[in-house]
């Protein structure tokens, strides 16, 4: 798992980068939902176009998106491979028992279209907003403090714990773990026991560290007269382009939903 590469923020000069994080979160979030409502194949090009337009505006490198799309997920892969062959009556092409069906193709087009455009919006959001700023925006929109605190702390220790696991796995391999021969389609009890211990140690070490972290936090006033916690929202005055962008995206979202209702 590419935990180590979690820093998704890419610094660029663009209107999307300058967009107020709160408005960006709300607008892109609503647009994603509008994309999710699309059921008409005719709207898919519009949706992909919108996503591409916003991606272009964000000036993020294409490689960034390509890298992330290379994990399409087994599920989407299954959809692409299975639906066109199994769903529907209208056969478009036939090779022996294999038949390409129209309804399946349509369903696939819809699902993949929505998937790509929503994912692109997600990566625009993450690529143009540093994680901490995003969290600040979510908090100012009413995310409970406890959730925000937990997210921040887990994020901080994620990489450390991942490194801890990697080191422990190396130590195990150096002592011969995983080198014994295993029979096919069998779960080796001994191996499973050792993996359970590995996981257990990971939990115990994290727990023990959390106790020390808590002490350190208390000593620096955590849980006292709790001040408003750090909200690194950028307090630049909301410029015209901020509102224009927000307005345009919201109009596009509403337009899609209306078109969907008309066509349905």
């Amino acid at each position: 798992m590419g935990v180590a590469s979690a820093n998704t923020y890419i610094h660029r000069e663009s209107v999307i980068h300058d967009w107020s994080p709160r408005l960006k979160l709300i607008s892109l979030g609503l647009l994603m939902f509008a994309f999710a409502t699309v059921q008409q194949l005719a709207l898919v090009p519009w949706m992909l176009g919108l996503a591409a337009l916003l991606y272009g505006l964000s000036r993020l490198p294409v490689s960034f998106l390509r890298q992330r799309l290379s994990y399409p997920g087994l599920f989407i892969l299954a959809v692409v491979l299975l639906l066109p062959l199994t769903v529907g009556e209208t056969v478009v092409a036939q090779w022996g028992w294999l038949a390409l069906r129209e309804e399946g193709l349509r369903a696939t087009g819809l699902i993949v279209g929505r998937f790509l455009s929503i994912l692109t919006l997600g990566f625009i959001l993450l690529g143009t907003t540093p994680f901490l700023t995003l969290l600040g925006a979510m908090r100012s929109l009413g995310l409970p403090t406890l959730l925000a605190d937990m997210t921040l702390l887990s994020y901080r220790y994620l990489f450390e714990i991942a490194a801890m696991l990697a080191t422990m796995q190396q130590a195990m391999r150096l002592r011969g773990f995983g080198h014994s021969h295993q029979r096919w389609l069998r779960v080796n009890r001994h191996t499973m026991q050792q993996l359970a211990m590995l996981t257990g140690n990971l939990l115990i070490r994290s727990y023990e560290q959390s106790e020390r972290v808590y002490k350190a936090m208390r000593l620096r006033g955590y849980g006292q007269s709790r001040q408003v916690a750090p909200t690194p929202t950028i307090t630049s005055p909301l410029s015209l382009h901020n509102w224009a962008l927000t307005g345009a995206v919201l109009v596009a979202a509403a337009g899609l939903v209306l078109a969907e209702m008309r066509l349905a």
């Binding site: 901490l132 020390r212 936090m217 709790r226």
Partner: protein, 266 residues
């Protein structure tokens, strides 16, 4: 038992008046972890403002435990602690005392160095401008101003240590407890830390196995064993006393041993 009271305090008032206030006064402190024999037994300890005290003793003698008691994280079974004359209630937040943990990763819990240094001042209720000012000042003092926008996780060990120290300094504590600050630092970073501590003006307590380090920084040493203070006084006198050191599982530091060419290895 030896006792000495040479002052290195830089508090100008105290120096001018030839008088020092008591920073820490602990009397008859006892503590044990649940289901275990007592770690500290009736420990009495007075530290004057501006003192630099080294705490030495073998693994598990109770140095970290003593520090946890002195900053109110643990509650003593009996005895009491006064900081600057005011009694310490365990669990209560006392910004005048700060603790540097042995592992800086325990202490750097924010996602950026700046946020981490700001954590203490924010909890103390300062307004944002004051918080910023404190962050800048503390980072300058610790020499890590260039790291402010980095993520703590990606720093080197020595850098983490200095960021953790800046996080404490931003709260302007009067007493700082350093728990094994040199473990796994390289010699260059260790040297930098020695300079930093030699120039600091707070009352400091340092627990360490690095006796050369204690010798360079502290003007008083306390040797702990079996829950008691065994010796308390001049570092050179205590650490130079081979019989005393060996009786308590320690060794005389090399720089206090008259040099003789010895043969190493077999």
């Amino acid at each position: 038992m030896m006792m000495e009271s040479v002052s290195t305090g830089l508090n100008p008032v105290a120096v001018a008046q030839g008088w020092q206030s008591t920073a820490i006064a602990a009397s008859a402190l006892s503590f044990g972890y649940p289901d275990q024999p007592e770690v500290l037994r009736e420990v009495t300890l007075t530290v004057q403002e501006g003192d630099r005290v080294g705490i030495i003793g073998h693994n598990g003698c109770g140095k970290t435990t003593l520090f946890m008691l002195l900053c109110g994280v643990l509650t003593p079974v009996s005895g009491d602690i006064h900081l600057f004359g005011e009694p310490l209630t365990p669990g209560q937040f006392r910004p005048e005392v700060a603790l540097l943990f042995q592992d800086p990763d325990d202490q750097l819990f924010s996602a950026s160095v700046r946020d981490d240094i700001a954590f203490g001042p924010q909890n103390m209720g300062f307004d944002p401008a004051e918080v910023d000012a404190r962050v800048t000042q503390a980072a300058d003092m610790a020499g890590i101003a260039h790291l402010l926008d980095r993520t703590p996780h990606h720093l080197s060990g020595g850098e983490k240590q200095m960021v953790a120290i800046a996080g404490l300094l931003a709260m302007t504590p009067q007493i700082i407890l350093y728990d094994e600050p040199t473990a796994s630092l390289d010699l260059r970073t260790r040297r930098r830390l020695i300079r930093f501590l030699q120039n600091s003006t707070e009352t400091i307590l340092i627990s360490s196995h690095d006796l050369e380090f204690v010798l360079e920084v502290c003007d008083r040493v306390i040797l702990i064993d079996e829950g008691h203070i065994i010796a308390d006084g001049c570092p050179r006198a205590i650490m130079g006393n081979q019989a005393l050191m060996e009786a308590h599982g320690l060794e005389k530091p090399h720089s206090l041993i008259p040099h003789v060419e010895r043969h190493h290895g077999e």
